[in-house]
Amino acid sequence: MITLIQQLKSSILENRKGKIGLFCPYSVEELIDAAGFQPVRLIPGRSELQLANGYLPSNFCSYLRHIVDSALRGELKDLSAIVFNHSCDGARRTFDVFDHYIGDIPAQFIDVPKAGDELSVSYFRKQLVLFRAFLEKLRGEAITDESLSRSIVRYNWNRELLRRLYRCSASQLQNLGASDLMLILDLNMSIPKDQANKVLEEVCVECELSDDTLSAVSAGGRKRVFISGNMFDSLPLFDFIEECGGLVVGDDFCFGGRYGQMETAEEGEPLTALAKGYLNRVPCGRMKNNTDRFEFLLDEIERTDARGIIYTSLKFCDHFLVDYPALKELLDGKGIPSLFLEGEYFSFAAGQVKTRVEAFLEML
């Protein structure tokens, strides 16, 4: 596993493609890939904010403020462009700040509808036509339908591999723990999918061939928990859970477990296929059918034999925070205990979180 992770890391270093930053999984990476760029998820450093609070209010998504801070400090200069989606009001205003104050990085705003009906798919397709034109201008060459179709195939395969990894992880945790999985997902976001797919396939094969099973892991008496959320700092949280005797058996983070939960038709007009695929994936809290995510969660909890769920969210995220009361009611009705944690991107109240996680695990 360590060797395979190292392979992914070295692929990043070798990757000479121009990078296009994104922060939302509704950014259509296939288009970026087909244009010959590398889509990279923006993960700014988690130090104290220096400049962003002069541009955005303090009761505003800290992740977005960190992106602004990074940009103002010149840390995003190596990006060829940044893609903004109409993910939320915060993203809308962050784009406004970029548009007005940070002119040295080309930025494109894509309106993403909140539903996946026919009208919305048609509208989103038109948005993708504009995005394609933006990328073609940046690149200086056209994106053909053939190259886009090839990109769709690569990404579909990547997502299938990620789904297989998640299935493995739940039963092969000693080989592929939650922290390893998160690391792989992060690395997966930063390298060309052809290279990522080769490594991920090896990981899947290794795990699927292993004899060690679920029962061997659960015999240790560790409490199995599922994690749900958006941009929370997963790795320290997973470490806490494991220090307290828990075992993370799965997640549905935007760039985690939910990232792989979509498929794009490989036949037919590619932009329409992409529009349909993205709008009809397992949804984020921003979508009108956000409760479909609850059904996905319940299925995952059952699949991974989780004993409880830890629901995490960044502060000021209405999409995820306001979902919790309805989700909790559903979970309570099914006798599934849940713990609610919220925090900021840059700070993690470690002591408090650990106490609450300990108490929660004791309860399971």
Partner: protein, 421 residues
């Protein structure tokens, strides 16, 4: 016991939709019998009477009640002969009667984050207290904020009624107009399925006719208020939101808007000294609805009068009955809070120039990220004119953190800067 106290008693002692309808009827009778001189104007009395009458009908008749949001296309609702009711108005009423904190406390116990707009939290709570008539359906849009999808979704689930949600596009190009127009037409068809009644062309035309009359009146009101005289206080101007938010498309709404226009026209030509004005202000966003002294402090004590409110400075375009859905879509997209903040800033710049503004005040409502996220941009644009900008942080409906002393200090400092400029 006065009528206000009686209304509050009804609202706080085992209320129900029927009892609230009775309270609204009491309010209606009281307003109707109060001389016009005790209001800001005859037009204000007309709007008050209309509002209570509407509330009485809404709470008393669930078969025709529709829950709407501030920028919902209520012209469609009136065209279907239904009563829209803007849920945000309920939060304002709760704040006015000092009931907001009780509703908010209940939401906190249910795990609703306190960072979520209090206006939305209150009306969810109002619904959960069974204080609303079961609606025929709900109609909300993605303008102005993400909260509308969540809060209306919650209320819709609570009542098991359909929630029609309209995705207002970010852009204003032809594709966006077409997308929105198609959604509006589709929503109207869904309403037909829900009510079992077809939309009649003459009802659609009627609604658009009255909406156009009201829009014309609002355009005229906005034009009149450019007058060197301050024709109305901003406290009253901000109340116009109720008129277009609840009555756009109705005969009474058109009449009320025209009544305001006529009143202001009369004030232009009147030889009365009128409102004393030392400084002319532009007010951005909304005002707090609980009892507070912010606007009285500015307007009555310091004679810094709000001569224009951003929320009313809309283009108010005409609807075209020959192309109703497209023209309604264009109207919705013309609202300055849609899309990029530059639309809002252009509107503000225009207002500063046309209304000869001496200072700009932004009320930053906690949890309103779509508005507060643009404050830096707005401040920089305002300061290009060499006029001061005051940001007041607070809540629209939750009075628990209202600190008059601190606000007074800031307001007085703002006034000094204006006077020194």
């Amino acid at each position: 016991m006065g009528v206000q106290e009686r209304i509050k008693q009804i609202l706080t002692h085992k209320p129900s939709p029927k009892k609230i309808a009775r309270a609204a009827l009491l309010g209606l009778l009281q307003k109707s019998c109060t001389p016009a001189g005790r209001f800001h104007s005859r037009a204000h009395k007309k709007l008050s009477v209309l509002s209570f009458s509407h509330a009485w009908k809404f709470f008393g008749s669930s078969s025709r009640s529709v829950f709407t949001s501030l920028f919902s296309p209520i012209e469609i609702v009136y065209a279907h002969n239904l009563y829209p009711f803007m849920l945000e108005a309920l939060s304002g009423v709760a704040a006015k009667f000092d009931l907001a904190k009780d509703f908010l406390s209940q939401m906190e116990r249910q795990w609703y984050t306190t960072d979520f707009c209090s206006v939305h939290r209150i009306f969810i709570s109002v619904a959960q207290h069974h204080l609303l008539p079961r609606p025929t359906f709900l109609l909300s849009t993605s303008n102005a904020c993400d909260g509308n999808l969540k809060s209306f979704g919650e209320v819709g689930n609570f009542y098991s009624r359909p929630h029609l949600f309209i995705n207002v596009p970010y852009f204003r190009d032809d594709e966006s107009v077409q997308y929105l127009a198609q959604q509006l037409q589709s929503s109207s068809r869904q309403i037909e399925e829900i009510t079992g009644k077809k939309l009649r062309q003459r009802d659609l035309e009627r609604s658009m006719y009255y909406a156009n009359r009201a829009s014309k009146a609002f355009r005229e009101i906005n034009e009149l208020r450019k007058n060197p005289k301050a024709l109305m206080y901003g406290e009253e101007g901000l109340g116009l939101l109720l008129l277009w938010g609840l009555f756009m498309g109705s005969r009474q709404g058109a009449a009320a808007a025209e009544s305001y226009r006529d009143e202001l026209q009369r004030r232009v030509t009147s030889t009365d000294k009128g409102i004393p004005v030392k400084k002319r202000l532009l007010w951005l966003h909304l005002k707090p609805y609980y009892d507070n002294n912010i606007l009285p402090m500015l307007e009555k004590e310091l004679d810094a009068v709000v001569v224009a409110e951003e929320i009313n400075l809309q283009p108010w375009p005409e609807l075209n009955p020959d192309d109703p859905w497209k023209s309604l879509a264009q109207k919705m997209l013309s609202q300055a809070w849609v899309g990029n903040a530059q639309h809002r800033i252009q509107n503000i710049r225009k207002a500063i120039e046309e209304y000869r503004i001496d200072g700009v005040v932004h009320y930053s409502h906690w949890g309103c990220r779509q508005s507060n996220g643009a404050v830096r941009l707005i401040r920089d644009a305002v300061q290009e004119y060499g006029i001061p900008f005051l940001e007041i942080d607070g809540d629209l409906v939750d009075s628990r953190n209202y600190a008059e002393g601190q606000i007074r200090t800031r307001v007085e400092g703002f006034m000094e800067v204006m006077e020194g400029a």
